[in-house]
């Protein structure tokens, strides 16, 4: 039985990618904590992972190099605006720094969990290859 490297890492590869993307969205929220009219966003992880695993592609695909490039449907799946806990303070900004900071910390821990899973998968493969 051959080792299939495509399947070896399973769900963790897409999960790690999504967590990196989510970290970027959350970092952007924190960066814009003082920007007027900025609305905080977040990625719905369950939804995004389902799309990533089933490998759905809802975007328009370019079939000819003369065709215009379109981004419709290429958005990150599950990316949407966060519902603020407190009413608007007057500048139209919906970032709540404490929420974003805890979400970022939580996401970082999940990222490290994915890394740990991947590491043990790699160790397992190495053991299988070396046959020790």
């Amino acid at each position: 039985m051959a080792i299939n490297f495509d399947k070896a890492f399973g769900i963790h590869e897409s999960a790690l990618n999504l967590k990196a993307q989510r970290a970027e969205v959350l970092a952007n929220n924190l960066a814009n904590a003082d920007t007027p009219n900025f609305k905080a966003r977040d990625i719905d992880f369950d939804k995004a992972l389902q799309v990533a695993v089933s490998n759905q592609h809802s975007g328009l695909r370019r079939t000819h190099f003369n065709h215009m490039d379109s981004n419709i449907g290429n958005e990150i799946p599950g990316l949407s605006y966060r519902i603020p806990l407190q009413p608007d303070t007057g500048d139209g900004n919906s970032v709540e720094a404490q929420v974003e900071q805890t979400k970022f910390a939580e996401n970082s821990m999940h990222y490290q969990a994915s890394l740990t899973f991947l590491n043990s998968k790699i160790k397992g493969l190495l053991t299988a290859i070396k046959g020790e």
Binding site: A20, A27, L30, A31, N32, P36, E75, L79, S108
Partner: protein
Amino acid sequence: MSLYNIFDVSGSAMSAQTVRLNTIASNIANADSVASSTGEVYKARHPVFSTIMNDTLQSQNSGMAGGVRISGIIESKADAVASYQPENPMADEEGYVYSPNISMVEEMANMISASRSYESNVQVANMTKSLLSKTLSLGQ
């Protein structure tokens, strides 16, 4: 790799907050500088933040913003405060000097807000750094 973009995002926020701190320092430093007319008097300055909609990012993952920038610095429209000081060399013919209408309380609160925002962006960059270095040592 989107983790690398976080450094740009947090870095842009840190420089924006630095500009904010800079204007606050200028406002506080000039709180007591007087002038002989309302036109010459120092006006409090405030930066205006706006989101960067990054085109290169947008092509990869549509709608993704790439940090924050200063879109302009506005001058306060508050009227100068006139005070009667005939002995002041800057006094006009009627003996009045004009000082800027700067609220020290507002500036100090603004300063704390700016430094807290700066700190949270530093934390984000630090956390990203440790995540990246762990990713780079994957499988070792």
